[in-house]
Symmetry: C2
Subunit: 879 residues, 2 copies
């Protein structure tokens, strides 16, 4: 017989896949002797069994649950449904990977009309017992029968209004008994069945609901957003209840062993007196800082501090601990590695190294590349900020700064963001339904909830700015207004700016400035450099981009797109003259102007690069991209060139293409008009000579795009070499430089052994290669890729993460064939995958020399490049 | 020391690569005892040496020539430059592969002011000797110094006019002496040097000129058109002259051992009395039929007939023999396998099998697949022809029929053809400069020249209709007019029709009807079927195409493009309604109409196919291809669908794509709108069920286009299978059918092992695969491929002949990976390469099951498929 159910004492922290994260940690904590309420875990295998059998909970499994329930009754001395000493349990989901708030939890299960009397008998506290019962009915109705919570809330509000109560705590036992009756009627009305009085029926329904919640839409979206395997399934933890809502010596809270926002080494947390755990997370009441617990319940506080230290030393990472104090006795309900901001992530990891708890390698492994972005994001420009009008201040829930237009509804925020707007999502409090809206927004602002509210936790996970619990504003979600204390009213579409590090909300947009990094981050990145093998270069076309990238650790330019230099206003006229030229003479005249302009750019880049390699791609896009469309621009071009408007229009028409991506572009331009690349090669080498004459080092790499055959490369290369040699002869100098090719056409991969004979380097242009390998146009795929994702045909967007099975196989072929012909060939990547961590893993394993990415992704790429080395070492050790 | 020069007696017919075709045959003929004028051959190695040394004839080689010249003087008893008994030689090019008229020839070399006296002394014929001298100066001037022939012709015309002569033969020795002086003056004037009197200087210059002629532009074009290796080089044959222009007992001619136009077994040829060979080929005088030689010079005639038989039995193929009769003595100057029409090619090969001279396999090998087209080309519709007005009748120089607009200049013909016009090239006589114009024209009409004139030979080689020597019309190339005997004037752009099998020229266009094949052809094709291994299927969308193809031996449909059925006028309205539908319901209503229409088509195709496999590709092109552009069509669509014009325009805009080739098409349509393929699958299987109910066999193959991953195919296949199963369940029947995929995307090749798990067949769509592998759009590549060809970057158009190194390597990968997963998978080709002989060779070697091509290419494909088997067997025997 298969075993599906485990006592906490049977598990350990290494059994996450089977017991879920929560179950494994409850087991671990139980085993290291912490005060964990007793219980057991139904493993994820049972969830799989449930799904494989058309959402049916097998009798076999339920029998096993009952056996363990019996043990729990023995251990606690309580009995399910007893009117003297009833056993109440929590039923919580717990997946192998944390999905906070994504799935369902039921507390106080076991309460019924009889057991609530037993609870009163035990606790001598009718109010809190009855309150627990009415909460249970509400929660059970919501989770098991999908009865909207607001129905229950309405009934609660009604009775409070009738009695003139401000707080829930003012409700008398009588009020609560009436409320329980109303709740049971509501349940019958909306749930089509009476509220089940039998605790075992409650339990069975609750377990089924937890299993069902694995497939609920918000969980599915969350898994998709976070790359979580949908086959894991969830475990169910059944645990004896403890009660934080039994008076003023009771309470509940959350403690982080370090500050999850800054990384500071100090216990950080919040608690609510006389409350159950859900009250803290839901953000309905604003909790107090953990430090206040010390004066309130000093024993429990000190025990909690000790537990924090114990747990951190045990797990060797910052812990996020849920605790409840029942009549001064501390219970630990859960611990897990705490979610944290990027800044905290770096600081905690580096501090743990300094404290001798983990190694440098371990620190590197712990940083999530996805989070690094957050560190590098801009903050407000100081001077602009000084002029900023502060509307309100809330909690600094997730750092960073952002400006955008306010939207009060997640789906409207998504729609606006899809139209290209910068959006700030404004809600009284967020819930898992808002996930997609949060993902698409620049930042989140809430009026309710604390630093550990849903909005705060999720925003930190996303590396997104968040100001939470901003009680100085009044948010009306229906009217779509914010009214500030000072009486200012903002409406949908109005602009605000948020500073997630100070909690300040500003009126209007505020200029942003670049991120400042340093300290812990720099220290970590130095360790990264010692580990990584790939060079990280930058895709940069401007001095500014290059400066930023070098600041972030770029080791050269991997892709300078010369055509970006062609679009400058004062240049485009010459580009257009070059294109419409009807004779070689005419074309050369325009090219001569462009050459001087390009030289200015190259000289600047070479100066900043200080001898780092600068890879310059020669003209790539189809010529018609440069031609004007507006009548007046066409007329100007006619004037500039002395042609008639009709002639210009004819030429524009001639250059139009059915499929420009597959058309007359890249080195094909140089086959028909060799003088274009010759001009560019001259501009590059004359600039290099000038830098050399200034006594500086310079190393240009001339890259020929869109090569499909050796013959094509040989022809174009020969033309370029002649131009370069003429400069060397004239200037009586010889500079080192390389000529190589983009590998971005499938045929180039297949015939890489031939092409390698003509190339000094290969640079994989994985954007175009993905387009051609899939036959997907990036510009058009938006029409069908969403269906591919919905139907599970494509797991990830191949334009973001390299498709290793297809595109990757071609890259691999090109690498091995290229090396066959030229074993020492320099190979790198300049497509956007060069900044994607998963893709970087693949490129490292192919033994490439470098990847190149946008400036802000340079640190991410560095980190990913180090992590893959560590991963490899680990695998080697396992073998 | 390397040997560069060979006596005729040192060579044999197997030494073509070294001695050239002409040299090898002169050697062979010499060795079998035929009356060949003595001489020697400078091998192709010398040409290579010449080209490798910057067009310099090495002294070493020239020394060797002089040694052999000495031997020739001894053998003939004549001496170079002697004023008593001078040696005159011909200097002719001769490449390993025949390039008729492409390169240069010089006759009567050795004549100078002194030697001509020696010739007169010897021949006692001052007129013919002086005539030879003046011809030599003209030819030498033309070939060596590039002096235009018309300069010399003008001088000749002038003297004839002054003297009132009609024929060249009326010129007196005095006239000729004057003419020689004039010619030498012309030579000095235009050649910048005096005409060289030293025969050795003449010889050196002539040899150099022949070597130079290998690289002349028309030879380069000819090699490109005929796929001849440009590295072969040419040999030079130096041979003692014999003289057909020494009176009425002398003459020159050409004999084919069989009729090169029909293949009939009877010597066929032409001769001119008192003329040199060039007169026949150049078509300046119209020669007499060979049969007339019998009465004129009976001994020479009988010896010629004996020689024909001897040579055909020796070479076991129809021979094309050049002969000269000098004072009743027959000399054989050249023999080679005779160029022939497709019809003759088939008839000669089959007859030779019947005569027991060659095997069936040899017959198959001898048919040039390129020529087969000609046999299958249409002829005039009989009734239309009866009404046709005959303008004139010329020689039936190359069979077939064609209509088109007349052009008088090759480059204008090319320009008109490039604009899509059907063009007939009209010239007094054609020359090698006209090659490209001839290639682009439907047919060629000349006023001068015989059956062996340049126009006739080249047209037959191209499989193009030609009427030559049509002296009933007067062609004015300058005025661009034809004036007929009956006084009708035609101008550039007027339409005529030519029948190359009767020599008739008709006014206007005449309806064409399909080719009739049978007899010898059918017999040959039966032998072909016994040899070939590949099945040959047809790409057919209509009953007519399928009927034609089955008549030509197609073994099934390899590609039925369902979208072609969508364009019919009465259907397109429903297609458009389907596309602009905004709900599934709306879309399904339009699809229901289309389904009934598609069923009509499929039922017809299945009936004609009679159980042969019918491969139907589901909808492939982007939807916007079906949408209207004209305002009135947009309005109609708005009416049909009850939408506003603005809504329709919006939808049309939405569907526009930047790169439609890489856009929302193929199975991507079925991922977003599964109901489209479901409708098509239903139409196919309901049609199949109906055919089955009629008691006929039926075998549909459902082909899913543009698949890039296994998951994509699995999804679409599942949708289709459900639809098909529903029909089987409803109709209580089970029919065999296959579902498979096009392999036309590089990723599909790379992941073919995965895709094979979901496919019952692979059909390679080599058109799209070539586009994506090269990144070349077929619609746009016209802008740069010509440069690629000019610069030698691309040897052949990859859209015509499969690029085996790149695209072919991907096909090979897909085949081997596909077989790994599914060893018995059915694999074929449905791209246009399926009808290209060289590509068919490659597909056969991959062991594919079939190729599919357009109806008229089916016989070509069959032949190519047999030839590759024979080639393989030959290679196996060699091993």
């Amino acid at each position: 017989m298969r075993k599906f159910v485990y006592q906490f004492s049977e598990g350990s922290k290494d059994m996450k896949v089977l017991l879920g994260g929560k179950g494994a940690n409850l087991a671990e904590m139980t085993n290291i002797g912490l005060p964990v309420p007793p219980g057991f875990t139904i493993g994820t295998d049972a969830c799989k069994d449930y799904n494989e059998n058309d959402q049916t909970l097998s009798e076999e499994i339920f029998e096993e649950v009952l056996t363990h329930l019996k043990l729990l009754e023995e251990k606690t001395g309580k009995q399910f449904g007893s009117n003297e000493n009833p056993l109440l349990v929590s039923v919580r989901s717990g997946a192998p990977v944390s999905m906070p708030g994504m799935m369902d939890t039921i507390l106080n299960l076991g309460l019924n009309d009889k057991a609530v009397q037993g609870m009163i008998h035990q606790t001598k506290d009718a109010r809190s017992s009855l309150d627990s019962y009415r909460r249970f009915i509400q929660m059970f109705g919501d989770v098991v029968r999908g009865i909207p919570s607001y129905k229950f809330e309405e009934a609660l509000s009604l009775i409070k209004k009738q009695k003139g109560y401000a707080q829930d705590t003012e409700l008398t036992p009588d009020d609560l008994e009436k409320l329980i009756t109303t709740y049971q009627e509501l349940y019958l009305e909306h749930g089509s069945e009476p509220f089940p009085q039998d605790p075992l029926t409650q339990l069975r329904l609750a377990v089924q609901s937890v299993f069902d919640s694995w497939m609920n839409p918000r969980a599915v979206v969350y898994r998709r957003l976070n790359d979580i395997d949908p086959n894991f399934g969830t475990a169910v933890n059944i645990q004896a209840m403890v009660f934080g809502n039994t008076g003023n010596k009771s309470g509940t809270g959350i403690a982080f062993t370090r500050n999850p926002s800054t990384g500071e080494k100090a216990v950080f947390g919040e608690f609510l007196i006389n409350a159950q755990g859900e009250d803290v997370v839901a953000g309905i009441r604003t909790p107090e800082d953990i430090s206040k617990l010390k004066s309130h319940l000093p024993d429990a506080y000190h025990e909690l501090m000790g537990t924090c230290e114990l747990l951190e030393n045990h797990y060797l990472d910052m812990q996020d601990i849920e605790f409840t104090i029942e009549k001064e006795k501390l219970f630990v309900l859960q611990t897990r590695n705490g979610k944290r901001t990027a800044q905290a992530s770096v600081q905690v990891a580096v501090d743990l190294v300094h404290e001798g708890k983990i190694s440098r390698d371990e620190a590197i492994k712990r940083i999530d590349t996805k989070q690094i972005d957050q560190l590098l994001h801009p903050t407000f420009e100081k001077k602009a900020l000084e002029k900023g009008e502060v509307l309100a201040t809330g909690l600094p829930a997730s750092p960073g700064a952002a400006s955008g237009k306010i939207y009060f509804d997640a789906s409207e925020a998504v729609a606006a963001a899809d139209l290209g707007q910068k959006v700030i999502l404004v809600r009284n409090e967020t819930s898992p339904e808002d996930i997609e809206g949060m993902a698409k927004s620049e930042a989140i602002l809430t009026a309710h909830g604390g630093m550990t509210s849903h909005a705060a936790v999720v925003a930190r996970g996303m590396g997104k700015c968040c100001v939470a619990g901003c009680s100085e504003i009044d948010i009306n979600e229906k009217e779509k207004t914010i009214v500030t204390n000072s009486g200012i009213t903002l409406r949908e579409g109005d602009a605000v700016s948020l500073d997630g590090s100070t909690g300040k909300v500003y009126l209007g947009e505020i200029l942003l400035t670049e991120a400042e990094i340093g300290g812990h981050f720099d220290e970590l990145m130095e360790w990264v450099n010692e580990v990584k093998q790939l060079d990280i270069r930058v895709n940069a076309d401007t001095p500014n981009d290059l400066l930023t990238a070098i600041h972030f650790g770029a080791e050269g330019i991997g892709l300078c797109r010369t055509e970006h230099m062609f679009f400058h206003e004062e240049r485009i006229a010459y580009v257009r003259q070059m294109i419409v030229a009807e004779s070689l003479e005419e074309r050369k005249r325009a090219l001569a102007h462009l050459k001087e302009m390009q030289k200015e750019d190259f000289i600047q880049l070479f100066r900043i690069a200080k001898g780092r390699p600068v890879n310059i791609r020669l003209l790539d896009p189809p010529l018609h991209e440069f031609l004007p469309k507006a009548e007046k621009d066409l007329e100007r071009l006619a004037q500039d060139t002395g042609k008639t408007l009709a002639e210009i229009k004819k030429r524009v028409n001639e250059l139009a293409e059915s499929n420009p991506m597959l058309g007359h572009r890249g080195c094909r331009l140089a086959v028909t008009y060799p003088e274009i690349y010759k001009m560019q090669a001259e501009a590059i080498m004359e600039s290099a000579v000038q830098i050399h004459d200034e006594g500086q080092k310079v190393f240009p790499e001339i890259m020929i795009p869109l090569v499909s055959s050796k013959e094509e490369l040989a022809f174009v290369k020969q033309e370029i070499k002649e131009s370069v040699q003429a400069i060397f002869d004239r200037e009586r100098v010889l500079l080192p430089y390389d000529i190589g090719t983009m590998i971005e056409i499938p045929r180039a991969c297949v015939t890489a052994d031939e092409i390698a004979k003509e190339a000094q380097f290969f640079s994989f242009g994985t954007n175009d290669l993905t387009q051609l390998t899939y036959g997907f146009s990036r510009d058009d795929a938006g029409k069908f890729l969403p269906s591919y994702s919905e139907r599970g045909i494509l797991e990830t967007d191949p334009f973001q993460t390299l498709d290793t099975a297809g595109v990757g196989a071609l890259v691999e072929m090109a690498v091995s064939r290229g090396r066959m012909a030229n074993p020492n060939m320099k190979m790198g990547v300049c497509g956007e995958h060069g900044g994607d961590p998963r893709s970087i893993h693949f490129f490292h394993k192919l033994g490439l020399k470098y990847v190149s990415c946008s400036p802000f992704r340079v640190p991410i790429a560095r980190l990913a490049a180090a992590q893959v080395v560590l991963e490899e070492r680990e695998q080697l050790q396992k073998v």
